[in-house]
């Protein structure tokens, strides 16, 4: 159990700056997720904390004690590797016992057995203990790798994309199992993933990493509802958020947004919202990017009031629901629809944007400006961490 603090960590591999000034303060017992696209530097951060990689600058401390010069063995961290890194010549049992049989963390064989049995029960792999890693499926290997970490009582659990190599279904069910175990971890955990659902579901807090830098840190809800820029907004959510360039015009006492759909101008009144209108006035906004999540776009197959016409680009199922993509010229709009509709490609569709759920971004810097119901959302999404 430890509070992990990283201060201004920098690391380069050759000419590539893998980490470019990373500072993190991870609380004791927190489940902290590092989330970002491939090659963002997430694994490097983990390796620095484990002591496998030496940062060129900056300090890493556990409970205030600087660990930079301590070797991995003495840091008392338990790590789950992306490729599992099981010892191929050892049985599952011996793999799990490995740390507890080392000189540093030695325990009695009886204690080892007890802990392994407990972890095996938790991971539902009691029957696998005598097998060799080569006799396991990917899902089972993943469990063993997790089990090998769970038998320990480390300062911190480091998990590097433990579910990445599983297929979609298994990944989702393993994520649920992980969520179930989370309460029993009893230590700080740093979890690396590129899957936003894992990040949202598991993380007490999430740090978005891109190109070796931290983009945003916050709770899942905070990042989902108030992404600090369009990059973050696009990472969170599947199908991706729609970003629509629009021009603000004055309309009576309020404002409206004008966007181009297939070459012609479409005007929408902006629903009234104190925060949004104040922001528009204060910044004198003329151009904005509107971010609207796919579930907040309505559609109809006949003309209706407040709907504009466009054509269907595609209609496809994404499991329990489907996505209609509509062609709008310079951009496409994705929206959620039920399965089993009879939608023909290139047929007409009528669309209405629920602007009162939208997020406003600056079209030049792509940064977050404001959103509808900002105060209400802040009140439940932004959690102060003590």
């Amino acid at each position: 159990m430890a509070r992990i603090t990283l201060e201004n960590i920098r690391k380069a591999f050759g000419k590539v700056q893998a980490l470019d000034g990373i500072s993190l303060d991870i609380k004791d017992n927190e489940f902290f997720v590092l989330f970002g696209p491939a090659g963002a530097g997430k694994t490097t951060i983990l390796n620095c904390i484990a002591g496998i990689t030496m940062p060129e600058e900056g300090t890493i401390s556990f409970n205030g004690e600087i660990m930079n010069l301590i070797d991995p063995a003495h840091r008392n961290v338990a790590m789950v590797f992306e490729n599992y890194a099981l010892f191929p010549q050892m049985t599952v049992y011996d793999n799990m016992a490995s740390a507890l049989r080392s000189k540093l963390y030695r325990e009695d064989e009886a204690v080892i057995k007890e802990r392994i049995d407990k972890a095996a029960r938790m991971m539902k792999m009691e029957k696998l203990l005598e097998r060799l890693p080569s006799q396991l499926s990917n899902g089972q290997k993943q469990r063993v790798a997790m089990g090998r970490a769970l038998v320990r009582t480390p300062n911190v659990f480091l998990m590097d994309e433990p579910l990445a190599h599983l297929d979609a279904k298994l990944r989702n069910s393993m994520r649920t199992e992980l969520k179930e175990m989370q309460a029993n971890l009893g230590s700080t955990c740093i979890y690396v993933t590129h899957d936003f659902m894992e990040a949202m579901a598991l993380g007490d807090r999430i740090a978005i990493i891109n190109k070796g830098k931290i983009v945003q840190i916050g709770s899942g809800d905070e990042i989902y509802y108030m992404p600090c820029n369009e990059f973050t907004a696009e990472l969170m959510g599947d199908p991706q958020i729609n970003i629509i360039p629009a021009e603000i015009y004055k309309s009576g006492s309020g404002y409206g947004a004008e966007m181009i759909v297939n070459g012609s101008k479409v005007r929408h009144e902006l629903p009234e919202d104190k925060g949004v209108f104040a922001k528009i006035q204060e910044r004198g906004l003329v151009k904005v990017d509107l971010g609207i999540r796919p579930q907040h776009i309505k559609y109809a197959f006949a003309p209706a009031d407040g709907y504009f016409k466009t054509t269907v680009y595609s209609y496809e199922s994404i499991g329990n629901k489907s996505v209609i993509t509509a062609e709008c010229g310079a951009y496409q709009l994705r929206m959620i629809a039920p399965n089993g509709l009879n939608v023909d490609i290139d047929s007409d569709i009528y669309i209405k944007l629920e602007l009162d759920r939208s997020i406003l971004f600056d079209p030049d810097s792509k940064k977050y400006l404001t959103r509808y119901d900002e105060e209400a959302i802040k009140s439940f999404a932004v959690k102060e961490v003590q």
Binding site: N47, A50, G51, I52, D71, P72, A73, H74, R75, N76, V77, A78, M79, F81, E82, N83, A85, L86, F87, P88, Q89, S98, A99, S102, K103, L104, Y105, P133, S134, R148
Partner: protein
């Protein structure tokens, strides 16, 4: 109909394999036959002759043959041992660390095998005489590294490269020191490659002829060179020659048979499969 065609194909394949086997094994069989013949029968008969053990008695009991075998064992075994002690860490370094000119160095090690032995042996002869290594065990063991070391390093390096570096990290995080990791985790994983390449290196060293012929004379007498003794200047004792050759081939054949399964698997790389 289909099965009939397949059966015919199978028969044909087996016939061809048998023909090949006869072709490949015939020289060995011939050698074995000669070793049981008396000198007079060597050229006169093929399969029908009066088998005699005289040649064996002559070679094994009345000459220094045991000493030659012992010398071969010492130099070949010593060469392999040195190769393992030097080669395994070298292979690890080549597999794991990045340093300037790494690939060039690796290639240079391999290139020792390119030069024909006869090309390098004469300068070596002169150098050895100056250094006092001529006709010594150490000298031969040293020069045999040209044969055994490149083979061992290249095979074992492949094995190390196949072990994901995360396995080492995992063991480090589990609280093991580098030496413990090396001997507990890595050595078992490279064992198939290490054993097969070491045995192959042993066989190559055992069969080496040019180096011991030129770089050794009376004190060190490996069996390959010793065989030539039975070819006198005036007379050739083909029977004894055949005995010496047969017996000297035994260790190599025994090894090859023992390890053939591992040899194919071990040399085709791949420690951590599945």
């Amino acid at each position: 109909m289909k099965t009939g065609k397949q059966r015919a194909l199978n028969v044909l394949m087996n016939v061809l394999l048998i023909i090949y086997a006869i072709f490949a094994l015939f020289p060995l069989l011939w050698m074995l036959l000669i070793s049981f013949k008396s000198d007079t029968e060597v050229f006169t008969t093929t399969f029908i002759f009066h088998p005699t053990l005289a040649n064996y008695q002559q070679v094994l009991l009345r000459s220094d043959y045991a000493r030659y075998i012992r010398d071969s064992l010492i130099v070949s075994g010593g060469a392999v041992l040195v190769s393992i002690i030097v080669g395994v860490p070298a292979a690890y370094a080549l597999a794991r660390y990045n340093f300037a000119r790494k690939e060039e160095l690796a290639f240079q090690i391999l290139s020792y095998k390119f030069a024909p032995e006869i090309l390098v042996v004469l300068p070596l002869f002169m150098i050895y005489q100056k250094l006092g290594l001529y006709d010594s065990y150490i000298g031969l063991i040293w020069v045999y590294q040209l044969i055994s070391l490149p083979l061992l390093i290249w095979v074992v390096r492949g094995y190390f490269e196949d072990i994901s570096v995360e396995i080492e990290y995992a063991a480090q995080v589990d609280g093991y020191t580098w030496y413990q990791i090396f001997f507990k985790m890595l050595v078992p994983l490279i064992k198939p490659g290490l054993v097969s390449s070491a045995l192959l290196a042993f066989i190559f060293a055992w069969n080496s002829f040019t180096f011991p012929l030129i770089l050794a004379s009376s004190k060190v007498y490996p069996v390959t060179v010793a065989i030539t003794k039975y070819l006198g200047t005036d007379s050739a004792h083909y029977g004894q020659l055949a005995v010496a050759a047969t017996v000297s081939a035994i260790p190599a054949m025994v090894f090859a048979l023992c390890i053939q399964k591992h040899l194919v698997r071990g040399l085709s790389f791949g420690a951590v499969k599945g």
